[in-house]
């Protein structure tokens, strides 16, 4: 498998939501294409949009039409491997789970892809701390719309 050589999930292993769903509102994207025994996302989703099936090793499937973009699964996933994306016109947003020292809201940051390579600049639009997320933060980054499938990290430039 190409992914185990590289250490991350390549685009061809990820189920991306269709454009019209991305334009409606935030939608969850799972990057979890390897069978590991894990299922907290299924229990956490308030609308039952995530399914794994009988075998706990199976890969989660997200029903994009049912997903409301609430972000609860992002902070529950032990692997920090669920993200949210949204786009409107030329502007795009990515929300990611985060467990390092946080940046400030409004801060400009370097946007990084899955390999940690800089792909552009963006702004930290919002940081959410939910009690049920137990110290995992949700950070929403604003960026150019065409970057939402590439950006999965950021680096503070200051």
């Amino acid at each position: 498998m190409k992914c185990t050589k590289l250490g991350y999930f390549t685009d061809d292993t990820i189920d991306f939501p269709p454009l019209e769903r991305l334009e409606k509102r935030f939608v969850a994207v799972a990057e979890c294409g390897q069978e590991i025994p894990c299922n907290p996302c299924v229990d956490a989703c308030p609308v039952g949009a995530i399914t794994i099936g009988e075998n706990i090793n199976h890969i989660p499937h997200i029903d994009f039409q049912r997903c409301t973009g609430c972000g609860i699964c992002l902070g529950v996933c032990p692997g920090l491997s669920i993200f949210m994306a949204h786009r409107k016109g030329d502007t795009g947003w990515v929300t990611l789970p985060y467990e390092l020292f946080p940046p400030d809201e409004g801060e400009e940051v370097d946007l990084l892809d899955r390999q940690g390579k800089k792909v552009g600049r963006g702004v930290v639009e919002k940081i959410r701390r939910l009690k049920q997320h137990d110290r995992t933060l949700l950070i929403t980054l604003r960026m150019a719309a065409d970057l939402i499938h590439a950006v999965r990290g950021f680096r503070r430039s200051g």
Partner: protein
């Protein structure tokens, strides 16, 4: 250097005290081990090798190796990684030309008729396996004693900042450090007696253990024994591998996540299995730079979700690379790695050098089977399980009736598996004393089924095959 802040953890430091290190006052906090206080004060050379006099530093930080043994208040060979500091403690390095002073009578345990304590279940090791066994046996009224050689209970869970995988019954989504707190509370609630700073030094038939507790020798006469002693970190050979600054990855976690002391400023990690990748990520979390992770295999062994977290922070993982040498004068200064071909031969011209003050080794674990082997349990070599393990049946019972195993000592696997095996051992200790019952049998079936499901995925393959081989031999 001490961490004041951490995005996930809070460090509850005790009273500020002072210890004496070779005539110099070193500040320390009550509740931390000697080796940690010395690290915070910049002392990383804790001993010297007897033959070459080369400096040695902390390696395992959980009392399994001898790299940190020092002379404490005139007593030689004290494992300073699991010995808590006390006000005015005198600590010095020992070496061949530094023999311990004074009369051995001052530190040799005195011989006396040992007190004997009786229990239903003696558990050796207070990690996830041992504590889970205490909880399950305790539910059926068994009295258990958990003997833990560290002064802290919880095994390796206490240094895990990440949320665990699995399902709800295995505390999925809960951070390892919090699972430890839950298990300790549950074990105490079900009546387990937890003895910290207590070392089992030998097994005597029929089911007696010799224990040193608070410097005093005593015996436990047990109706059942569970050996849940865990595992120790493996080492690989390269010039400079014994320099202070070269740590087992677990030691870095202990210093950083339990005691809030970072090992250095810039780190190279060896091994891209789960441990190497998780510890590299935790270093970034604590604000330490990670130069890279290198891995001898041509692929990442860790869960991809773990390695993906690290890569998107900008830390490269170099597969098919191994360490060729490390150097430094008294402490690590740099490391050279080299690409290897499919037969693990270094490829000339591919050397890369890193200026790092810390090297983490996450190159596998060996089950800590010494007690089982001394007890005469039938052992066998199962490479999938990490080396020598005791033969055991599906109830986790070894070839000695009433002596059980669970956790990494029964085969290297995850903490979730350790908890399930511990539960199974606890259930069967109860079954041996109380006889079969539908409740015990259905609990066993439930735990065995969950374990089987967990091992059913691709990551469970090694454990599945290893345990199949073991059952055939039993």
């Amino acid at each position: 250097m001490r961490l004041e802040q951490h995005p996930i953890l809070e460090f509850h430091r005790g009273r500020r005290i002072t210890i004496d290190f070779e005539g110099r006052n070193v500040p320390a906090f009550e509740g931390e081990p000697i080796a940690a206080a010395l690290h915070a004060a910049g002392v990383t050379t804790l001993s010297h090798s007897v033959r070459t006099h080369s400096p040695r530093g902390l390696f395992c930080a959980i009392g399994k190796c001898a790299a940190c043994v020092m002379e404490v208040n005139g007593i030689p060979n004290v494992r300073t990684c699991i010995e808590p500091v006390r006000q005015g403690m005198r600590v010095r390095r020992q070496s061949a030309e530094h023999p311990p002073p004074g009369n051995p009578e001052n530190f040799m345990p005195r011989f006396h008729e040992p007190e004997t304590v009786e229990t239903d279940l003696a558990i050796v090791g207070g990690g996830p396996a041992g504590l889970s066994a205490a909880v399950y046996a305790g539910r059926f009224g068994l009295r258990s004693i958990v003997v833990e050689e560290n002064y802290l209970v919880g095994g390796q869970l206490i240094k895990q900042t990440h949320k665990f995988f699995g399902s709800r019954s295995h505390y999925a989504g809960v951070r390892g450090v919090d699972i430890a707190a839950i298990l300790i509370r549950e074990a105490r609630d079900t009546g387990a007696d937890i003895w910290t700073s207590s070392s089992v030094i030998g097994y005597f038939p029929e089911k007696e253990l010799g224990v040193i507790r608070n410097g005093r020798y005593l015996r436990i006469r047990a109706r059942n024994i569970l050996v849940a002693t865990g595992a120790s970190e493996k080492m690989i050979s390269f010039p400079g591998n014994d320099l202070p600054g070269v740590y087992g990855a677990g030691a870095i976690q202990t210093l950083m996540n339990v005691h809030g002391i970072i090992p250095g400023r810039r780190v190279l990690m060896v091994g891209a299995g789960n441990i190497g990748v998780i510890v590299a990520y935790q270093l970034m979390q604590a604000g330490v730079q990670v130069a890279a992770v290198c891995e001898g295999l041509p692929r990442v062994g860790a869960y991809l979700v773990h390695s993906a977290k690290l890569l998107r922070l900008g830390v490269p993982i170099l597969t098919a690379h191994t360490v060729s040498k490390a150097w430094g004068n008294g402490h690590l200064k740099g490391v050279e790695i080299q690409a290897v071909d499919s037969r693990w031969q270094p490829i000339a011209g591919t050397e890369k050098r890193f200026e790092v003050d810390t090297l983490g080794l996450a190159v596998g674990l060996s089950p800590s089977v010494e007690l089982l082997s001394q007890a005469g349990a039938k052992m066998c070599w199962v490479s999938e399980l990490g080396g020598y393990v005791a033969r055991h049946d599906e109830f986790m019972q070894t070839s000695i009736p009433g002596v059980f195993v669970a956790g990494d000592v029964a085969g290297i696997e995850e903490a979730s598996a350790a908890m399930m095996e511990g539960r199974i051992a606890g259930i069967h200790a109860a079954r041996r004393l109380l006889g079969p019952s539908t409740e015990l049998d259905s609990l066993h079936r439930e735990q065995a089924a969950e374990l089987a499901v967990m091992r059913d995925g691709p990551f469970g393959e090694k454990a599945r095959l290893g345990n199949q081989r073991l059952l055939k031999e039993a």
